[in-house]
Symmetry: C2
Subunit: 333 residues, 2 copies
Amino acid sequence: MRYEEAGVHIEAKAEALRRAKEAIAATYTKEVLRGLGAFGGLFDAHALKGMRHPVLVATTDGVGTKTLLALEAGDVSGLGFDLVNHSVNDLLCQGATPLFFMDYLAASRLEEGVLAALLGSLAEACRAHGIPLLGGETAEMPGVYREGAWDVAGTLVGVVEREEILGPERVREGDVLLGLPSSGPHTNGYSLIRKVVAGQDLNAPVPELGESLKEALLRPHRAYLREFLRLKEAGVELHAIAHITGGGLPENLPRALPEGLGAEVRKGSWPMPPVFPYLQRLGKIPEEEMYRVFNMGLGLVLILPEEEAQRALALVEGFVVGRVVRGPGVLLL
Amino acid sequence: MRYEEAGVHIEAKAEALRRAKEAIAATYTKEVLRGLGAFGGLFDAHALKGMRHPVLVATTDGVGTKTLLALEAGDVSGLGFDLVNHSVNDLLCQGATPLFFMDYLAASRLEEGVLAALLGSLAEACRAHGIPLLGGETAEMPGVYREGAWDVAGTLVGVVEREEILGPERVREGDVLLGLPSSGPHTNGYSLIRKVVAGQDLNAPVPELGESLKEALLRPHRAYLREFLRLKEAGVELHAIAHITGGGLPENLPRALPEGLGAEVRKGSWPMPPVFPYLQRLGKIPEEEMYRVFNMGLGLVLILPEEEAQRALALVEGFVVGRVVRGPGVLLL
């Protein structure tokens, strides 16, 4: 018996890596001392010595079952952006900016074309933010994954000055919630979405949406790094940031709030992307469930002092969607 | 329709995290400023300011289809050690030591018991090396994973002084290859192993092995951090280190060698764990294929100047298995 007979195809992996090599190398900054092919990636951290008190921040994420919809639609080119952008937003919640990214791709069988497209997409997404794709792992696991299915996950490492860490301990009663628009469902709720749209033609234009389901549902997770940097450079004071992912506003806002403080959010105070009412109607999903599963149009919520809100709104596209109040939990009004 | 109907069970995940919370918190060092539950983990990197020129090292790995054998045998308690130890060895190849670990666990359905056991195992493995389990992601993906299958992956971040980075550029002709014994197949070749042992009773004692297949095949990947630190403290000069993973000696030794230099390895110069001849005979696997898939008893190969070999052997259990020679590739004599 040979390894190939057990369903492991070493050549397809090597060939896909060769095809994506240039795109990956294009993400390298001068900090990358060793990348692809090494036992581990090497990132020059000399710049951290110039910081007052560096704190490393790390986040691990996947894009969930959005991969299945992308594979069904025959287009995985957005999944790298989904993963990298999701991760970037998680770092922003701590006030951190990215240093480097590590990916993890796995499937029952590494099809060269899909793998090369995924690596290319990851590299492009990293490059868009100036983040080196420092390394990763690609695993072929017959028996673990379903035929044709892929998992796309990764880890982003970043850094923040200790005294600039954002979070619950900075938040005060009366602080304003400033919501930044999402591009759609981002990477959450796709197990439900797939049930709801099962059997629909993904490529047909949907009048209610003004585009096809493929366009509306595969649009990549939006990153808010540029917005964050613009606010930071202008000296706008931020207290905390909540990334609205799985669990929606009710579960993610509390992660940015201290014990004893909650949030009031006014529904209708931001424009609702048509994809959400469409999914709600088609799937007969209770409204409360919609808010618990989807971001409902808000990708990131900045929590900041009331007096900073107008200055922030002049710099980034966003909406005052509520405020921090006494008492626990999130009240959707 | 509700999210639960789409096959996503938020409660089982929350409950398993509650059960593993203490074990995870026990891995925290004073550097952990924010762990479980945060959008990202925070690791105080102030100590890096005291280094001459810090270089971060990152490695992402999975344990492959060893998960399936462990699930079949009803014991996942070693998988955390497999993952963390594998990752630690990858860092050693650069001369780096660990800072923190991030895990990624995924399955078609998050069974609370399995998830709690996996998190507990990861935490224990991290704690054994003093590495904080800083964060991670646990994903339930119906439709991506096969029923009952799990994926166990993660990213380890470490640090090394720039001038102490090990690697091919230090290696000289005539350098000695010092092999450190593996504990078995570690985490490689399990798709083939599962084909070979299919239908066998994993719990029955195998006279040839002196133990059951379960014991021989689920023994965790061995880490060599202690050995590395002992050599480092004694000032033993190392040139490079190869971690013998997928691809065996023929593919992993060259990753530690410069262009133009190869390696001669003398078979039989180290004790062969009985599990390898057993698998070879049972699966009728050609010998060349054995060396290409398995570590064949060597988990790590240190490459060092000949005059350092005896001093190294007095400090760690190992064997001189060959040397660096002119010409490409690995010659198994």
